[in-house]
Point group: C2
Chain length 642, copies 2
């Protein structure tokens, strides 16, 4: 065994020779990012060996020989020798959970698309029973009497109680003269009892809606008695330290203990958010008796500890698309352990439950002949087009840029995020607004879109995203071959660094928007539909309270259509989870949508790369596709020329 000490934390651990340095760090509780999932390509896990010897032969590749010789190695490609080591770990960028400002996300979705009062019918129900007192001669146990009471109200179905509930039964039935509140789930011809409480507790009946994104996780607490949303909290998925996109995560999970680590990390985030939102509303986790979880196919597999490898290996067949009901105890979610956890169904390896949930917030889930398009912009972009007769779905890899990933000052749409920007045409100087109106801590997706649109409109960047070096501006700084745009100097920043956007950041956004647009174009081509045939375009994603669709079209993220056809529906995966949580009717609709959907694998499409490359400009190489946008832009250029 060799003793490995990590600095600056001074955490240490003894591991056998040949252990990967990344694993040693994990075991010692030292956080090292591995965005590429341990493939040695992202360079995020760079550490410095300050004492001792390691086998860093495979660290080469993205590192220079000089660096390796000086002790700089990739933790994921370096193995421990038989001597003690001291390893210096660069400080990770701090991440903190922030509650999204503003309230009810249902505002984002058109009211007529949400379940109506008479459609409120949660899976989990809380019901008051008056169970007769025990009698000496009738031969009926506590369980028998409760079962009969339930069957009297709910019909002669099998009544199932888990052992944990059986253990509370004797006292619960005797505490208030047999008056008990029973949390139950009626499924097929069985009634599953989740909780039995003495007295009338029917007013306290809660559920959670959960969106598990590759980058961001959101949890919403819902009062199941009234279908009211009590609170929402979101945070980065703790898994981001193990890979920024699903492919990196799948690579990272190739060893069982790493799959388990990913599972523990995502549960860590979910459970922290559950605890926070419950505490904030004075709800005990044990009072939460149902959860609906939506996430992409990989997130689902990682949450459940299912081997994700076959998602990315031909023929791309995962363990499951539809999850049978599992209990919270089985899954590991910190609510009432006997609660059922329901999952939005997945459709393909890359079209998951986030999409079948999101669709419920759109006209695509209604009986309309009009053709609609749904674009969910996350780390993976997913798109669905269709009407009551057909549904075509596809996915593309946008990367985490719209959620702040890979952007120098990027952050999620949380308090302190720059969400809107204007640029002065003459000086290039920015004016911006942050969520919560505080000093800026970073810039979120909607902020980046606004910034790029404004810079393009005012001519401060060109179609390829390069900043204008020809005109002097106090906000543009040149460093070598790169130019950097200053949003806020140190003094006006809410973080410990100035707010800057580099040309690399701009490139990342362009790549992300190009992936989405190309998928969009190809999907419609498949369906034999022109953009102008679309009645509505729904945009979902974690951009915060609003996304300026004018600006999204300006940079070519979405097609150039009359603005009234667009609707931004926010985190539609979370909202869809909420809808399923409160309405069984919508749950049935969701399963039916999933079964009707046809998945198109874009990676097998020869045209995709062409479409993508053509979209790597602002707004597009083919300016005819964005007539109204390009009209503005020429106006700006004309202005600049003057």
């Amino acid at each position: 065994m060799s003793l490995i000490t990590f600095q600056p934390s001074s955490k240490s651990i003894a591991v056998p020779p040949n252990t990967e340095l990344l694993d040693a760090a994990r075991q010692a509780g030292v956080e090292i990012e591995a965005s590429c999932g341990g493939k040695g390509t992202c360079g995020k896990c760079v550490v410095r060996v300050v004492a001792g010897r390691v086998d860093a032969s495979s660290s080469l590749g993205i590192l220079s020989a000089d660096m390796v010789a000086a002790g700089t190695v990739l933790a994921c490609r370096t193995r421990v020798g038989d001597t003690p080591l001291t390893v210096e770990v660069p400080e990770a960028s701090g991440r903190e959970g922030v509650r999204i400002a503003g309230g009810d996300e249902t505002e984002l979705v058109r009211g007529e698309l949400l379940p109506r009062k008479w459609e409120y019918e949660p899976l989990a129900i809380k019901w008051l029973f008056n169970v007769p007192a025990p009698q000496p001669e009738d031969g009926l146990s506590d369980l028998d009497r409760l079962t009969r009471s339930i069957q009297r109200d709910w019909g002669h179905l099998a009544v199932l109680l888990p052992l944990a509930v059986l253990r509370t039964l004797a006292d619960a039935l005797r505490a208030q003269g047999g008056v008990v509140s029973v949390s139950l789930i009626r499924a097929a011809d069985q009634i599953h009892v989740i909780k039995v409480e003495p007295g009338d507790q029917t007013a306290r009946h809660y559920g959670i809606a959960v969106d598990i994104g590759t980058t961001t996780i959101a949890v919403q607490l819902v009062d199941l008695a009234s279908a009211r949303i009590l609170g929402t909290r979101s945070d980065y998925n703790e898994q981001v330290g193990c890979g920024l996109d699903v492919i990196s995560r799948i690579n990272y999970a190739r060893r069982p203990e790493r799959l388990e680590e990913l599972r523990t990390r995502v549960l860590g985030t979910v459970n922290r958010l559950v605890q926070q939102v419950a505490q904030q509303n004075s709800v005990a986790p044990a009072e939460i008796c149902n959860a609906v979880v939506s996430g992409n196919t990989t997130m689902l597999h990682l949450l459940l500890g299912l081997k994700p490898e076959y998602i990315r290996l031909e023929p791309y067949v995962p363990t499951l698309y539809e999850v049978p009901y599992l209990t919270a105890a089985e899954v590991g979610i910190g609510i009432n352990p006997e609660s059922w956890v329901c999952f939005s169904p997945c459709v393909g390896s890359y079209v998951g439950g986030d999409i079948t949930a999101g669709l419920l917030c759109t006209d695509l889930a209604t009986d309309t002949e009009e053709i609609n398009l749904f674009i969910d912009i996350g780390t993976n972009g997913e798109l669905v087009v269709g009407n009551r007769d057909f549904l075509l779905a596809c996915a593309c890899s946008a990367g985490p840029a719209f959620e702040g990933g890979g952007i120098t000052c990027g952050m999620r749409a949380a308090i302190g995020a720059i969400e809107r920007v204007e640029v002065d045409p003459a000086t290039g100087a920015p004016r911006f607004w942050t969520i919560g109106g505080v000093k800026p801590k970073g810039i979120c997706g909607s902020g980046m879109i606004a910034l790029l649109a404004e810079l393009l409109r005012t001519g401060w960047i060109d179609a390829s995203g390069k900043l204008d070096r020809s005109r002097p501006s106090p906000t543009i700084r040149i460093e070598g071959r790169h130019a950097i745009y200053l949003l806020a100097p140190m003094g006006e920043s809410g973080a410990d660094h100035p707010m800057e956007v580099t040309e690399l950041d701009i490139e990342n956004i362009i790549r992300a928007k190009a992936a989405i647009y190309a998928a969009c174009a190809l999907l419609l081509q498949h369906a034999g539909i022109a953009f102008t045939d679309l009645a509505h375009v729904y945009i979902g994603g974690g951009f915060g309270r609003f996304l300026d669709l004018e600006k999204a079209a300006t940079i070519g993220l979405v097609p150039d259509l009359p603005r009234e056809r667009f609707q931004y529906i926010g985190n539609s995966s979370l909202m869809g989870s909420y809808i399923v949580l409160v309405s069984q009717e919508y749950r049935r609709r969701q399963l039916e949508l999933a079964h009707r959907m046809t998945y198109i694998d874009l990676s097998a499409e020869p045209g995709y790369m062409d479409q993508y490359t053509a979209a790597l400009f602002l707004p597009h190489t083919d300016r005819r596709l964005f007539p109204s946008v390009c009209l503005q832009a020429s106006g700006a250029e004309a202005g600049k020329g003057a």
Copy 2:
């Protein structure tokens, strides 16, 4: 906190002032018996405080003031003060798990009562499937393909897989080209999958039958493919340290942590026996996919961690009589965690699953008009009389004497137990046989019955169980007011003490047999039946391989009927568990028997005490009830007179 050190083990623990000494010992891992369940009446938990001060005011009662002053206290009635203590604990009598000699217990049951080959239909089945390979375009996940394969063979039922099995699915389906062995349970209109293994593993398919007695636990490993019994192991229930009978255990369990302790103890014994019998047969616990457990109502509640208090409080209504299927993981039994654990149904607070299991080994479970009686002799005695038209059941408290409890040299029917005795009429000298033919380690129930019958037959004890002091015998020793019978001196003993039986031991057996006989008489009186109306009398109990029914009648344990009407069926609770494990048909029969049975509460019967008192003689105060026995006895007395 006060530091308490226990001698001779030197184990110590720090506890807050006012902690009960018994609890401190338990926490320190020191075994102290508390046969009365901590009520301060049995005196088994006597310890000596050798240093420090305690509050022993409530130790008085069964201890003299002098004893308490000298430091002798009851651990269950003594509270720790605020000073360190040193406490001397008397060494407990060693208990060791011994496999019962001799083989197959099915020999004890009439062959025609056991399930026949065509009735073999275990609940848990292992089936071979050939699941198609994953295909790129069919949209079927691993789970979808397995579900379809199962539904093709078993009909269109819902197929449920627990998360643990889902986690193994991807690799299992790919390891051997889709050939998998699936362990499953078909219940109602659902199929529950317990395990999926690659390749043909259908020959390895096991279950366990479990009998949980108040004093003794037995576990039987069964090959479910052939219904063959592979091995049986039994041992004392680890709970005996917390009370010798069910009432003491219920008292002991009055605090939640003690209920949990009792649960842990019984699981400790069960799981040790499971491990032993599995290891002995080279079976992995994960290969055991079903368990059937039979035990009395209190044992069931304690095993499941259900509050047993209401069993002994008016109106005597427990949490449950019939247990819904639970998984081994929920219950805590160390077999495949997804296995179902099935429980024999209980009928009343004191007529439990051991009886509904035992009945399956008798004609009472058949469609006969003949009236039969089943007596299960354990720590609780239970009796059922009836035929196809009626079934009456009752219970009585016999105590653990027949299983060796409360008998100076008492032990279970295990290797080294004296199981048969003869007494020389002239000298009173014994001749005995032990299980396994080794030196005697103790005497079991059948040995005690034989000894008493022989001593009575030869006139060495009188009808009240007193040894004859009038004739000198090398085997009888007088100590104060008590006489002691020597079975084997130190030199011939297999233990570290001579084999002796005291008059107190004899009294214990008489009380136990009187309880059984009185219940018997009263039950038949209720049914309006004379003993002579009985076609068969079945005796069950853990007496070992055989019980000499001649001798049982001699002491008045069973009624004096022609011997051919009796059958000793051994541990019928265990055998009934086995029967249910291998035959669903018998499981249905068992449930039907339980529903048909009427429970009579003897504690509410005014006549019971009279019957009991009348039976506190050998064989009975009313000698006319035992004509053939008393004929022999008079012969012996005549011989003695000669």
